[in-house]
């Protein structure tokens, strides 16, 4: 008889441990309040949950709109096989960002307030609306995978008729949202260190999000090819790698030009924590860029994957520097996250990996041979006709 209890592997044990710690931390957070569960203070009101879970989570989901635009708007069909995993990642990413916000908000049950209580002067108001609308758009972009699974071809056909405006709305909402996370920090000119504060923050956040979206797509293609024994789409990933190199070149040039223009490069002569962290952040961006410009590196899947990971780390370093390290000197206090903050963050990441794996296993996320990818409604129509005939 087949056992109903799954075999306990190393990674499953880690997963269970992380989830158990997260559950206990969740109890502490909601029973005793933010003071007991975090190292936040009046001087340092935003910590790891905003800096990592929200800022990085939204950025790492950028592959969704980058690829949706490439394939569905620019009609570059060869990238079609990797649109679905990118959209799934983005959808999960945004759901997890909402979960993290529920932990961070003092009164999470009022998360819907910005929908009816307006303040259009507030960047946070724009952020709230972007999260709401774009999560809806992602749900719609993701739903064909579910509808196909359950054979609901009529709804699928209806949805795919509307898919072009949905994709375009998604690209615009993402552009606004990625940049508005940078705009959030325009209001703290005296608190954020000059190595990170810049009037160009919205643009820098957007460009780096596009780059990390490409890196995330390489990252997840590599992992899912390992997990499901799929063939890696090497020529596609090489193309992504080259685009990533160009995006990183543009980002790094913009960043350094901006620092020079504002006369902030001089801060690098001081030996401070900020200088070290800035150097680390820039190296993590420049190194994969230089490597990815070599064809030999792009041709080697492991090296390509390594470069993507470096760029992702560089992106995360940038967001943490803006939201945490860069804010310390200006606020006058030190902030080191409490174990509960880290436990909840890890649990959210673990949940993300688990749901992705589950979805990839049961839904047509990686579909190569039979091509019913989102915009191909002719095929969906024939399915619908067959379904209505009762075939």
């Amino acid at each position: 008889m087949k056992s109903w209890i799954p075999k306990l592997t190393f990674w499953r044990a880690v997963f269970l441990l992380v989830m158990a710690a997260g559950a206990y931390a969740t109890f502490l957070r909601f029973y005793y309040g933010l003071g007991a569960a975090t190292n936040l203070s009046d001087q340092f009101p935003w910590g790891l949950w905003i800096g990592f879970d929200v800022l990085c989570g939204v950025g790492l989901a950028a592959g969704g709109f980058t690829l949706a635009a490439t394939v569905h708007v620019f009609n570059i069909e060869k990238y079609k096989p990797i649109v679905r995993p990118a959209i799934l990642t983005a959808f999960l990413g945004y759901l997890l960002v909402v979960v993290a916000l529920l932990y961070d908000l003092g009164r999470p049950y009022r998360i819907w307030h910005p929908i009816i209580m307006w303040n259009p002067r507030s960047v946070m108001f724009e952020v709230g609306w972007c999260v709401t609308l774009y999560t809806t758009v992602l749900a719609l972009e993701f739903s064909p995978m579910l509808l196909e699974r359950f054979g609901m071809y009529k709804t699928l056909r209806l949805l795919q008729r509307m898919m072009v405006p949905i994709v375009i709305a998604g690209v615009i909402l993402s552009t606004l949202h990625q940049s508005s996370l940078g705009t959030l920090y325009l209001i703290v000119p005296t608190k954020l260190h000059p190595l990170w504060y810049s009037p160009l923050l919205p643009l820098l956040f957007f460009v780096s999000a596009v780059a990390v979206g490409l890196a995330m797509t390489i990252f997840e293609s590599w992992h899912s090819s390992k997990a499901f024994g799929r063939k890696l789409e090497t020529p596609l990933l090489m193309g992504l790698g080259r685009t990533l190199a160009v995006a990183l070149l543009f980002y790094c040039s913009l960043r350094i030009w901006d620092l020079a223009r504002r006369g902030s490069l001089g801060y690098l002569r001081h030996s401070s924590m900020e200088t070290v962290l800035f150097t680390l952040e820039m190296c993590l961006m420049i190194l994969p860029m230089l490597l990815l410009f070599r064809e030999r590196v792009r041709r080697n899947p492991a090296a390509l994957y390594g470069c993507a990971v470096l760029a992702i780390f560089g992106f995360v370093a940038n967001r943490l520097n803006v939201s945490l390290a860069g804010m310390e000197a200006g606020s006058g206090v030190r902030y080191i996250p409490k174990w509960t903050e880290i436990a909840i963050t890890l649990a959210i990441i673990a949940a993300g990996f688990a749901v992705f794996r589950f979805a990839a296993q049961y839904l047509a996320v990686f579909k190569e041979e039979e091509d019913t990818a989102s915009l191909d409604w002719r095929q969906a129509e024939s399915h619908a006709v067959m379904a209505s005939r009762g075939d």
Binding site: D42, P45, R107, P108, M117, V123, M124, I172, T183, I187
Partner: protein
Amino acid sequence: MPNAILYDSTLCVGCRQCEEACAKKWGNPYDEKIAQEEKLSAHKLTTIQTFGERYSRRLCMHCVDPTCASVCPVGALQKTALGPVVYDEDRCMGCRYCMAACPFQAPSYEWNSRLPRVKKCNMCEERQRRGQPTACAEACPTGATITGEREELIAEARKRIAAKPGEYYPKIYGLKEVGGTSVFYLSAVPFEQIGLKTNLPQEPLPQLTWNVLSHVPDIVTMGSVLLGGIYWLRHRKEEVEEVEGPYRPFGFPKERER
């Protein structure tokens, strides 16, 4: 006419009567130990700070164009016509952007509460509506803290500096900082020596984000047109090719046309 507070640190003797009156008004605990905490918190909405032999006071500055009110996504913070910046706890969802954004680090949070609120001085808005001075001004035995109409207090501050030029640092703090506040400071020494931030810009901070936010409608309309156009062009090319064969901009047509 908007009201304001004038705090003259040369008159302050550090008796902390203002702290006690403030705690009483809000129903906050107050004892010897709390008196020694020289920082703002959810149970201490104003505090005296000691700098050697000098004293200073800390409280919400009630900016003319408040950063907190501009960043609040649900409009829980509002500048009233009377002068105070007030907080509506029924709207607040606890994102704490006001705390991150405030250039004076004035708002505090009830970190240990299960349903926390933002706490900050409201310049005794409810008393001012009845025409009474703030609790702190009423309690002050030396006249170091006084309330009144904003313009009149500025005139009073200028008069004090002019009358005793040797005793005052010749500036009023709060006149130009982040576009002006409704709490003014007079001091015998430069303001940074009594713990005030002197690196603040003279323009209101909300303008910094509005410069970007005001372009959102443009991005939406131009983005839709641009992306819609690209979509149409890229797919039109495909349709044409389906009928006429591959597009060759500079080449001659091949055998079919010959």
